[in-house]
Symmetry: C2
Subunit: 336 residues, 2 copies
Amino acid sequence: MVGCVIVKNEVVVGEGWHEFAGEPHAEINALAAAGEDANDATVYVTLEPCDHHGKTPPCVEALIDAGVGKVIAAMEDPFPQVAGRGLDRLDKAGIATEVGLMSSAAELLNAGFIARVTRNRPLVRVKVAASLDGAIAMKSGESQWITGPQARDDVQRLRARSGAIMTGIGTVLADDPSLNVRLTELTIAGLQPLRVVLDSRLRMPLAAGMLTLPGATLICCTGSHDHSRLNDAGAEVLSFGASGDAVDISAVLEELARRGVNDVLVEAGPGVTGYLLEKELVDELVIYQAPHIMGSETRGMFSTPSWLALADRRVLDICDVRRIGDDTRITARVKH
Amino acid sequence: MVGCVIVKNEVVVGEGWHEFAGEPHAEINALAAAGEDANDATVYVTLEPCDHHGKTPPCVEALIDAGVGKVIAAMEDPFPQVAGRGLDRLDKAGIATEVGLMSSAAELLNAGFIARVTRNRPLVRVKVAASLDGAIAMKSGESQWITGPQARDDVQRLRARSGAIMTGIGTVLADDPSLNVRLTELTIAGLQPLRVVLDSRLRMPLAAGMLTLPGATLICCTGSHDHSRLNDAGAEVLSFGASGDAVDISAVLEELARRGVNDVLVEAGPGVTGYLLEKELVDELVIYQAPHIMGSETRGMFSTPSWLALADRRVLDICDVRRIGDDTRITARVKH
């Protein structure tokens, strides 16, 4: 997610953004919009311009050819092996460069991309809907509509910005979730995030609703199982190492990074989300808090059997709190 | 808590408020500040002026004597038997009156007073400190400093605006709380809220710290016990009816109303607070939410064994959400 604005004599002469993987980068679109005005102009871009031939030619060459006067990048390219090279080449071509303007905002915009290229795993965002006293369901399992319709629409936006949506087989068996983007205005060319089901013993039912929906489903099991029936139903099945009785989620996250997934949205039960917290694999929590008190005969948000002392708790950095309909959405980073 | 502003020719000529029980009312103080300017002026007051001789002479007479032109009251006196009488008498004296300006703000200001005179019990405000996932302690009981110092200072303000602070014997035995106002700038003449301990079997230890502090302590038990040792330690002991194994808190609240207590702050464990929620005795919740995830091996905020279905949950009206240090304070009304 990169944007570019070209300014000449204090007037914006061109804007562009990277609209889709494989399509022209932000700088190319902004240069096209600016035309001749790009000559001697100042280029603001949220990420260092690329100096390599990927799916498109290097943006650095286009900037030099257009004769721009100055390039101000919010941040360097996070790939350690290429960071600074694009700016270097501009410098050598006599174009002034600066880096760091609004870098924290730029880093937030591409936190998933940065996680993937620097930590070899996607950003992991865990979404939970709970009451104000931290309950996600009654002990009986009763849980429908804890949060309101606006919060559920908001989750659609979280899904749309994710490369994959992860859940556990327990949630599939209990709720048969679709895990798709239903608001079509949020999709690009109908593309859906990859659905990922953690299912160590391969209990995924062939009748699962998500298998009938557009988009791909990846079932992650452990050990050896017959994959054919699920393959026939259109799902991909991969076996991973085990962590106790569960799938080693770190290995799944590496596989997702290998496939280019920047952001994983986890919509799962307390077992999966608690495991991720215990393993320090959660980057961001998005909690939709309903204005309800559900009391003690309920299920809590996260199952964390290894946290026995207060010192085991995780400290959060609250990034954003806002009302979504009757509910409150809290976005927080987990400090590690 | 009543305030009065006197305005003449669009200029404030006098202000006053009811500073202390038994001292002059707001109108009297404002009239004194306005002096001769009160003649033909408009008087804004948050509560209907009184027309009876209580601890002070009736304000209505003073307003008539001062020759004010108009009186605008935010709300009528909540005592059903006197509501409207003060305004009527002003009308009959030829002074124009209006009622209802900013009435919801005025009702909020005196919610405790209104509860006492219309429902024969104080407003019950329950304070809880919890993690974002609703835990108040680890299962082991470990719980010190879940919220930060600013939140603890803020609780001092909650205490200072309360006529009584209520807790359970479990909290006394576990934490030996002081339940006093330690910030002296928050007290008036060193007055402390009444400390109320729910202690059905009269287990209150003579060594409890609160018994050594300025201010009164009321121990509420059931059945007959020897009160003398606690009386000797300076505490008052009263026996109430029982509700199951517990003290009938409704009867305690009636006793507090009889003593003129408008606001009760409950700082107690999940047993007492859950019982109050189950019995629909909670008017307001003040939740200090620490930016922490404490997980599943914890104690929840409220023990509500009778709430087994989602339909049993209580719906809240969130009145205020703000950051207090690192914590979030949520003030909510319980809908009944």
